[in-house]
Subunit: 200 residues, 2 copies
């Protein structure tokens, strides 16, 4: 009798599994649809942001989790950042790519620096990134002196170290903040200091 | 000119936010639809499982993350477990409830013991659970002696401690395992020892 019940449970489970599969596919189609619908607005937003000097530097410095990673020499490089882009891969579940666009600048040759996350062979996220082609003597990721003469605490490491850090791609906090917080609404961080208290 | 661009970004952002809102609602409707479609199959599965003696004890003991939490006296109580249920709340995002059903047993009066997770006032998950009404002298959650005479390592704590543990509801590993692994497919854990290698 147990054997019969097990066979019936198995049949039942197949129905449930099939429904789960259908649900995932339907949700993926909804997400893809809205990715398409959002795209022109996101592109328009990028064009508008380009008109505002230091938009990205300001937004990054106003973000509580990103700001501590940007040291004073990084700031010089971020003056040249023109665009942030987060691309979900076609099969959304398989990963995403974060792209930082830069105008010509004294620090590196790349016009786009990317870091991407996709599922590795074990089904766990792995990350990889564009090697930064530093100009001679301009490598911002070299170790800085532990404190500057003005006693600033900020400035012990470079944001650009993040691109080369693939230690824990399953919980890359910077990537998550950029993808899920900065990218959905960068304006709120650009405006942060003037906006204080308005949400209260 | 910056002011004008900011206003245009703001308008653009409003369009994006509205699309995000629509996407969330549409996904929620898909999830609710499939919750409805799954329900009769899940109920049928529960009825079939009830016919199999010690189904839940076996599945729990075969689960790598749950098994270590079940001590030898817990096992006696789990002989009487008749049903596992996971209920998502109507607004799925707001939480879920895990229900363990028990037949009349020597340990406690409850026929259902539950632990539920919902968003607290700060938007973070909080958990609460049914107080277990232990029968006199049968409280399985009392401290056990550190080792038994047979030298078994298992048996230092009781699974039932989990119901009273609300320290870290944002990452309650037992709840996540029950909800996302055991509940979707308990049969695989019931069958685990016979099934070895079949997935390879």
């Amino acid at each position: 009798q147990t054997q019969k019940a097990l066979e019936e449970i198995d049949a039942c489970q197949n129905e449930i599994d099939a429904l789960n599969e259908q649900a995932s596919e339907e949700i993926l189609r909804v997400e893809q649809k809205y990715n398409r619908l959002r795209k022109p607005h996101l592109e328009q937003r990028s064009e508008l942001i380009r008109k505002i000097p230091n938009f990205w530097l300001t937004a990054f410095l106003n973000h509580p989790q990103i700001s501590p990673l940007i040291d004073e020499t990084d700031e010089e490089a971020f003056h040249h950042m023109t665009k942030l882009e987060v691309e979900e891969f076609e099969d959304i579940k398989s990963g995403y790519r974060i792209k930082l666009h830069f105008a010509e600048n004294p620090y590196f040759e790349n016009d786009i620096v990317t870091k991407e996350f996709h599922l590795g062979s074990a089904g766990k996220p792995v990350s990889q990134s564009t090697p930064i082609r530093w100009k001679a003597g301009m490598e911002l990721t070299r170790q800085h002196p532990p404190a500057d003469t003005k006693g600033h605490k900020r400035g012990h490491s470079s944001f650009f170290m993040w691109f080369g850090d693939h230690n824990d791609p399953t919980s890359d906090e910077v990537a998550e903040v950029l993808k899920d917080d900065m990218w959905p609404n960068p304006l709120q961080y650009y405006l942060l200091p003037d906006n204080d208290g308005e949400n209260g």
